[in-house]
């Protein structure tokens, strides 16, 4: 099936070349980082994890999107998701690859990376995170590829493949839980030290991941005419809405715990994020944007009548993605490290080289995703008939 990645429209190649150029550009900055060290980032003694690790935690969530399809499909035999499942699995592959990329660029000594395996340390959460991420990547490649192959040959996927798909559902929960545990057990970091961290990770993952998946699917439907079915899209939108409600609820739980208990350590990072602390207001505009977008997207997504109109849905999903990205891809790390162990504030904002290195990894993820989705969609079209570039976008049905 790989050969399907080698033939494509100018638009396909244009996308790949564009992403490739971005990646090369970012790679230049990465080389610069390799030569000079992490000094090129905005991180410091006090804020020792920054944009890279934040993207990692966010993308672990995106990798979850598959679960929201695989779970109803395999556990509840919800067949409408049949066409989308493969997209979810392939998105997971791209997301996990980006996660690993972000970990690698964040290391001070990347060439010693294998030390984590050579000196396997079960009491370190990072060791387990590496295990579950690699396992999840492997599971998704195996399940995704095998079931696509089976579909192409018009056969039922082998039994072991179904078993592994079910394993991957449970596994997806583990990647979020372990990534949350990575930060949830640190005694000196009040913003991290909360029992609902894993639950918050799952909730935000189960809204943000599928939201990205749904947006990309709508885009692909527009561009290629590949239609995963209206019912599937609607159902996914409902799942996203519920997950976002839970996500907001869990955040409110955090606020209650911090402010009702009146524990200074727990209040300080939230103050820093929403109203500034010690003259540092860097994140305040971001946080309020997140609040407005987060609540705004619920206004759009909760009423069925609005949600089922595609333009409104797209707007709501974009708002949701931005809001959850600010919460997890920016504020979670910075809020965790501010105030620092001396209860003072050291400011952090990512530097341009840091952002460019991140662009490299996002572009890499984009390439993986484009190639994999191209293969998946072409196989679909080949089996079901129809000419990709010719099919007009289906008329919208309410």
């Amino acid at each position: 099936m790989l050969e399907k990645a080698l033939k494509g429209s100018p638009r396909y190649w244009g996308t790949l070349i564009g992403l490739g150029l971005l990646m090369l550009l970012g790679m230049g900055f990465w080389l610069y980082q390799l030569v000079h060290g992490l000094v090129i980032t905005g991180m410091s003694r006090d804020v020792s994890w920054g944009f890279y690790i934040a993207q990692f935690t966010y993308l672990v969530g995106v990798a979850a999107s598959a679960v929201m399809l695989v779970l109803p499909y395999y556990f509840h035999h919800y067949k409408q998701f049949a066409k989308m499942i493969i997209l979810g699995e392939f998105l997971a592959i791209a997301a996990v690859s980006m996660c690993m990329g972000f970990i690698v660029v964040d290391l001070g000594q990347p060439q010693r990376m294998l030390n984590v395996m050579i000196n396997a340390t079960p009491h370190s959460m990072l060791f387990w995170d590496m295990c579950v991420l690699m396992g999840y990547l492997f599971l998704n490649i195996l399940v995704g590829w095998t079931s696509l192959q089976a579909f192409k040959n018009d056969m039922a996927p082998p039994h072991w493949c179904k078993v592994l798909a079910i394993v991957s559902v449970i596994w997806a929960f583990s990647i979020h839980t372990v990534t949350a545990f990575l930060i949830a057990g640190l005694p000196g970091r009040h913003y991290f030290l909360t029992a609902v961290m894993a639950a918050r990770f799952l909730a935000s993952a189960f809204c943000a991941g599928p939201a990205i998946l749904l947006l990309l699917t709508l885009l692909v439907r527009k561009l290629t005419g590949f239609d995963p079915g209206d019912k599937a899209l609607k159902r996914l939108a409902v799942i996203i809405t519920y997950a976002m409600c839970v996500n907001v609820f869990l955040y409110l739980c955090e606020l209650f715990t911090a402010f009702y208990s009146n524990m200074p350590g727990h209040i300080a990072p939230i103050r820093f994020l929403f109203s500034g602390l010690d003259g540092h207001y860097e994140l305040v505009p971001f946080m309020w944007t997140a609040v407005v977008l987060g609540l705004g997207c619920l206004v759009i997504l909760i009423p069925t009548s609005i949600r089922e109109k595609t333009p409104a849905l797209v707007l709501g999903l974009i708002m949701l993605v931005i809001s959850t990205w600010i919460d997890k891809g920016l504020a979670l790390m910075i809020g965790g490290f501010t105030p620092n162990p001396f209860e003072t504030v050291t400011s952090y904002l990512p530097t341009v080289p840091e952002l460019m290195v991140s662009v490299m990894i996002f572009a890499l993820g984009g390439i993986i995703l484009t190639v994999l989705w191209k293969i998946a969609i072409e196989v679909r079209v080949e089996v079901e008939g129809g000419n990709l570039s010719m099919v007009p976008p289906p008329a919208e049905s309410e």
Binding site: L107, V116, T121
Partner: protein
Amino acid sequence: MKSNRREFLKLAAVSAMGVGAARLGFLGDAPAFAGPLPTAADFEKGFKAKHWGMAVFSAKFTPELIEKCRTACHTEHNVPDIPGKKQIKWFWGASYHEAFPTEQGQFLSEDVEHREFPLLCNHCEQPMCVRVCPTQATFQRPDGIVMMDFHRCIGCRYCMAGCPFGARSFNFQDPRPFIHNFNPHYPTRMRGVVEKCDFCAERLAIGKLPVCVEAAGGALVFGDLGDENSDIRKVLREHFAIRRKPDAGTSPSVYYIL
């Protein structure tokens, strides 16, 4: 490369001139030059303890004394002098509010309020940094000292996130150009690894006290917390002492007498 060669030449010069030389002016004032290279006999008289700890007579510390200890420690261990928020700190001074933020002290006695407290790694009994390190580059010795293997560290900085005391520093860049008084008796670090105070484990091994303890002239008491007859236990019996952030559950081995 260039700085490597320079270091090599310095080392060669030291051995050529005989390491007994009291002070080699052109190399700066690294205190280690006062003594010869340790011999096998030195290692035989190394200090041993059940659990090393430190008591700090904080009232005796002036900013000048902290600076003296800091310089002694940083020179001994080739700690680079990097300005700004990416600096490396093994031993440093901080206000009461920074040192004991969870005490939330209000209406403090003038004296305590304006006192500067010396800070360093607490060599905790339950060190979070050891628990989180994925490579065991940070490890705890049976005598309680929390050590770092700079050659195994991958620079993930998880230990920095784990330590509730801000006791660790990361080499964001090559530290060697920032070392002004090179001490050939102690290794320099490379870029991309974490470092921190090691209770002068290399000095204890040859029967010497930590350099900061020597420099403090009695304001720091170092000894075996596991031995009730030790000096430090005696000091702690006689004075009221607190530890930093006891609620973090790491059980620090550094005690502050107010």
